[in-house]
Symmetry: C2
DNA sequence: AGCCTAGTTTGTACGTCGTACAAATTTCTG
DNA sequence: CAGAAATTTGTACGACGTACAAACTAGGCT
């Protein structure tokens, strides 16, 4: 009946951009984890109807891709290729920085692992890695393979670490997580698993910075010695 | 119309169990990928209302946890501890078998990486790994750390490989995936990325069995040599 | 100036998901 | 053979992603 005109809202306010959408998405990721990064949540955060997002991105997947690229853009490429520092130190700094960043955004890794990582920032990072491994004395082909192993180790580590939190809220401190794991392992260890029982305290520390560096060092050892043992 | 009593359906048919539910879930995972593993899909597959699943599992997360445990139960623990074979060969067989399994269930890795992997089968596998690294001559603490690095590399590799398909349907053969990647890399490579351009064919092969073994060999090299280089 | 057009935003709607609740039914226990 | 316990269902709610057309605003053309 009749015309209830004057609906009041629609129309371009002009103030909205893909960057604001990514800001909102990144804030959601930091505050509440990956599962709270939602089109409707993003829209609410910027004070807009959900559909408005589709003006700037064709879908949720595109938003996530762009967010991954943004996260990759924050890595320190200059430090990575600074030849005044030994190559090992440069790689370790990069890895540690990356790990800290990603652990502080619970759920960001699952984002990284959910796409192809073929954006411009990903390619740029890959190029720098090739450079560093060339500095380490590797032939181009070996440098390429080594850089992929490096990426695999770093992302795999972080993925395994975040696997056990990521469910709700901000991450507890390292000590606390270790304690929780220790309880779990000692409970699971039995006569049937003597070695697990014997090294439970070590295994509880799988998720620490110390273990991350230990493994990284060994991986780099393996990557930069010519020839391989046949045993 | 009157009373259409005889609504006909509710009541226990007796024929339903947690195992059938996991069967259905696993079939869905194989056929359509991780995103098709859904409570409603599982229920439809066993010919039952969605809520029936909640009689056997408290929620979707529990179903996925149990499914992960089931996937872990298929690994060949006996072969892993068979001392008639050299330890490197045992680890490599395990890694390759695991990789083949997980690549054939697109999306299974994201499942593995979405929980703590603390079920009985996971613990049993961990115990065997400790045994193998002891065979390789490592002290208990180093064996524990090494086994975690091993797991990290294997799961990380598979995660990176599945990252770029996982979106719809059955995985294309290795050659085809390599070709697709090559196109992408040569397109992305420019004057600003000379090393990327030079090794594009190698990088396109990051997702092959060959690269997987190459990296695994290097990682094991690094894990089983005492001491570490300081650069 | 004023209109037209293109671009932006919204309301509404559809189909999907996980899952809570109580009613209906069957099987088991005594 | 009755009652208790376990199982399954219908229905429903609140989220989600996203399609569609209507409402609106801003800028370019005359």
């Amino acid at each position: 009946m009749a015309q209830m005109s004057q609906r009041r809202r629609p129309g371009p306010r002009g103030t909205l951009s893909d960057q604001m959408i990514l800001d909102a998405a990144q804030n959601l990721l930091s505050d509440g984890g990956a599962r709270t990064v939602t089109i409707r949540g993003i829209a609410a955060r910027v004070g807009v109807a959900p559909n408005a997002v589709y003006t700037y991105f064709p879908g949720k997947a595109a938003v996530l891709r762009a967010l991954v690229e943004r996260l990759l853009s924050t890595v320190d490429l200059a430090g990575l290729t600074n030849r005044t520092r030994p190559w090992r130190q440069r790689l370790q700094s990069l890895a540690l920085e990356f790990r800290t960043d990603l652990l502080s955004h619970p759920g960001a890794v699952s984002l990284l692992l959910s796409g192809r990582m073929d954006g411009p920032n990903a390619v740029a990072l890959g190029e720098r890695l090739l450079e560093v491994f060339a500095d380490a004395g590797l032939e181009p082909v070996d440098a390429a393979r080594a850089s992929h192993v490096f990426v695999t180790y770093v992302l795999g580590s972080i993925a395994l670490e975040t696997a056990e939190l990521e469910h709700s809220g901000p991450p507890p401190p390292e000590d606390e997580r270790v304690a929780t794991r220790l309880v779990g392992f000692t409970a699971a260890a039995s006569d049937r698993h003597p070695r697990t029982a014997a090294t439970a305290t070590t295994m509880a520390r799988y998720i620490t910075t110390e273990q991350f560096i230990w493994g990284l060092t060994r991986v780099l050892d393996g990557l930069t010695r010519q020839g391989s043992a046949a045993d």
